[in-house]
Symmetry: C2
């Protein structure tokens, strides 16, 4: 596999391919054509073939791609062959929502702990424990942690990212409205507003067409 040639744009499409292939496998499908995938992905069949060519031989001309083989290959490329331990900073609505989101566990992402500064949110009784944020460094030292989610107010987000980096965390998922760009950190920004902007774009377009 010539993984090193794969562009960032192709990589960012892999999760979506992976999700669709998982759904196809679950529905019992064994082969899928690039044309069928193109409907799901919103790309042309030729773009689909180009993407997959980056990762070697997945399909046979005229026969289609082997769903479960391709899904397994993508799982390996995406690193989905082990468990990842996650902690969430901020036990407000977003933190709690993510801690209980059913889609993560099934792919091996396990939320181990939440952290918050408000004493009445600290809770070690049921479900995912909530610790005081003062104990963050101590926790990371004692417990292997792969990914930290930042779900606090945006004013404190960059400081928290620096603090996590100092504690040895390199992978962050940022849920504040402001992107975090810091050297030495791989940050995925949730960019929640972006989806709303795409919807408002479409609403404006439709309104103009109807005029």
């Amino acid at each position: 596999m010539r993984r090193q040639e794969v562009s960032r744009q192709v990589i960012r499409r892999l999760p979506k391919y992976y999700r669709f292939l998982t759904e196809l496998e679950n529905s019992g499908k064994q082969l899928v054509s690039s044309k069928e995938l193109s409907v799901l992905m919103g790309r042309t069949a030729s773009q689909i073939r180009q993407d997959f060519n980056c990762f070697g031989e997945f399909g046979q001309q005229g026969v289609g791609y082997n769903v479960s083989h391709m899904r397994k290959q993508l799982a390996e490329i995406l690193g989905l062959v082990r468990e990842y331990n996650i902690i969430i900073i901020g036990a407000g609505h977003i933190g709690q929502a993510l801690a209980h989101y059913r889609g993560f566990n099934r792919e091996g992402f396990v939320v181990k702990a939440l952290f918050d500064i408000e004493p009445d949110k600290i809770n070690n009784d049921t479900g995912v424990p909530v610790y005081h944020t003062l104990r963050l460094e101590e926790y990371i030292k004692a417990n292997k942690t792969d990914i930290a989610v930042i779900a606090i107010y945006e004013e404190g987000a960059v400081d928290m990212a620096c603090r996590l980096r100092a504690a040895g965390i390199n992978h962050i998922w940022n849920f504040t409205p402001k992107d975090i760009i810091l050297p030495g950190l791989h940050v995925e920004n949730a960019d929640l507003s972006d989806k709303l902007f795409l919807l408002s774009y479409s609403i404006r377009e439709n309104a103009e067409k109807q005029q």
Copy 2:
């Protein structure tokens, strides 16, 4: 402006440009070069120039782009010149998190109501009202609604999308782990897991480099 020629890929990058330009404007910056934008966007300066060329003349050779002019143009293209009324189906953690997310209001996205089937979640006392889902159609008939967010269990998501479409809603933001693809609906899928997959990809890559 030659908007009709703009590809779907360029459109999907506009929210991010818009967010960065807003931040630059807030920080008092008047001009920005495509090189500076390229650092923020993770694209080459030439790709940035190409994207903006789709929308007409924003910059002058060697001088840079006018931040506030460009931000204003993008706001218009994205339809961010009016308010959008949002309802959220599902008043669980995700629904409540979105109802209280501070990033939306400032761009004119106003959450007007939540809906839930659990009687103990119905609440009309403070903040955003929570109605019983039985009253969904009645509410939409009486209140102009632009966007509906689906934040219920994935098993009921497609049925809910059909129900919303029948009630006249065409724009949906889907927070269940399973994508919704239905004719006559513009659905933006939150795809929360995708960001985790990109982080696990990066963790795997780093681990391999260190071997």
